[in-house]
Symmetry: C2
Subunit: 336 residues, 2 copies
């Protein structure tokens, strides 16, 4: 196979585009795809300051590299989740990348900030690790962006991630989530008039048109050292099974993934959005009484408690950490 651009020997082929690329033109292709995605979805302007959530994996490090090349003002943010050696190795690689590239990296630790790690949180609350981890990340990323004065939070979700999420949301017809699954979520303001302030920063995903195979190839060809191992806590994760099922279809019909995702954005997403902002569809946004972060009051059931999900989970975890009860049997077993 020859490079689509220069007809030299191709080293990467992209079946859904029916095209091959040499090293340099592949890197150019990836960078152009990201630039086009930013433009198409009006993700951010050149004068805005970006905070990029960095995990030490191929996607976030490749994106960091690409955004730098495109000339954007981007700062990395690494949140140490305390997942043993996996977390320390990914932190090291993030720090190394920042050092080599001379880019600013903000590092925070979940344990130092709040007093628990992701594995501890899961054990203390009985919550599935990936679910607790997601809650922590959403909360901490937004908090960091607000505290450090960034307008935009950038994440490295790629096409495979978005397709797996979309597939899961469609299989369960999570209509709220479908209304929110966009490459850009606009910022949300809390309060009115003089007291108005940004409560949720804008969130954008510039890698939505690239598969994980492509971001991995980009990182490899650019000599970026990233964490190859997967998080040890994802075992049996449903997201993985959705990826497998769709990848099986992609193999016989290249383009299935990108068609599924872009078709959703073009022809279906609007059908799941409410008239005024889909971000917090169905509820009123207020400040959490504990931490001030934005949370939603659902109209059902009268006495709405304006404490955010993170604060509730944190309170439960810290209570159980201080005052450990004997391990209770799981509900299902208790019934037998």
């Amino acid at each position: 196979m020859k490079c689509k651009v220069c007809r030299e020997h191709a080293i990467v082929d992209i079946r859904r585009h029916n095209a091959g690329f040499c090293r340099d033109h592949f890197l150019e292709h990836v960078t152009n795809q990201v630039a086009r995605t930013i433009k198409e979805f009006k993700m951010f302007r050149a004068d805005e300051r970006l905070l990029l959530a960095v995990s030490g994996g191929k996607d976030s490090l490749a994106l960091w590299d690409i955004l730098g090349q495109l000339g954007y003002d981007v700062t990395g943010f690494y949140l140490d989740l305390g997942i043993g050696g996996y977390s320390s190795r990914s932190k090291d690689l993030s720090v190394v990348f920042a050092g080599v590239s001379g880019i600013k990296l903000v590092v925070r630790s979940l344990n130092e900030e709040h007093g628990f790690t992701v594995p501890e949180l899961s054990k203390l609350t009985g919550r599935v690790p990936c679910s607790g981890c997601g809650l922590n990340k959403r909360y901490e990323f937004n908090r960091a962006a607000l505290e450090e004065g960034f307008e935009v939070l950038v994440t490295g979700h790629n096409l495979d991630d978005e397709v797996a999420t979309l597939f899961g949301n469609v299989l369960h017809w999570n209509t709220d989530m479908l209304g929110r699954q966009m490459p850009v979520l606009t910022e949300r303001i809390l309060g009115e008039g003089e007291s108005a302030r940004v409560a949720l920063v804008r969130k954008v995903k510039p890698l939505v048109k690239l598969t994980e195979r492509e971001t991995a190839a980009y990182a490899l060809l650019r000599g970026i050292d990233y964490v190859i191992e997967e998080c040890p806590m994802v075992e049996g994760n449903t997201q993985h099974r959705y990826k497998e099922a769709i990848t099986m279809l992609e193999e016989t019909s290249p383009g299935t993934k990108s068609q599924f995702y872009s078709g959703f954005l073009k022809k279906a997403a609007d059908r799941f959005r409410s008239a005024e902002g889909a971000e917090l569809d169905g509820g009123e946004i207020v400040a959490c009484i504990s931490c001030g972060a934005p949370t939603v009051i659902w109209e059902e059931g009268g006495s709405a408690e304006a404490r955010c999900a993170f604060c509730k989970t944190k309170a439960l975890a810290l209570k159980r950490k201080q005052d450990p009860e004997p391990q209770r049997p799981r509900r299902r077993r208790a019934r037998s």
Copy 2:
């Protein structure tokens, strides 16, 4: 495992219901499911005459048996598609079942009615066999129902069929098809006032809550002799690949299929339907100038030709049959 009802030894287990059944209670369960589905979706009344599309396979023969047991006035309709030994074997089994049960069966032959078989049609028009076959069946089923004076056309689509179709429609976001994918499609009237007549009879699918494993078990336990072999023309059929992918997910999460389908009906289907009847969304329904069957004029492009898709395909097939041209190379090859 024990029978959920009588605690005797279970011979069928249904994982998504977390239940086992003995022979008799399984048969009762299946019959009840069909009765409930008919009621839930208001498919038909006891005094309506039903025409059931019979293929000789497990689904249509099981459904025929169940509807008879439930006391409905049901007539079978077998359309001989001319697919070699497969068609003759399935016709024989349909005729045998009708004879044993003493139920009326109408048999028609595509070749006798129109001058071609499904394999010929595919060869003559270059159309994918399953696509041409579907067109023939939709056309002939509706024509037979109208000519023989039936109000309702019943088909044996099961949960797996509906889930595979839904998955395909979602992967491609075929919004028109999503708007029409209901267990009941109401009848459509052509003309107004005195000249008004039913153009498309009501179509219903009473097996949508049963998997193909369940209809096969039902047929087996009732001693119904059905065609086990698959149609020889479905090889590589995308529907099959969708079934495989979803079945993979069902194995780890029993209930995935039924949740996907029923969730669609409850939470998403309406979002894809136009205000007035989704059947022919976006077009005006008129009588075909060749055969009088209902067809759609799409507003795009000025001079709308009111000839139906079946008549167009038939005309092309018969023209080429009478006046065969040398086999033209496929378009893609011609380009190289």
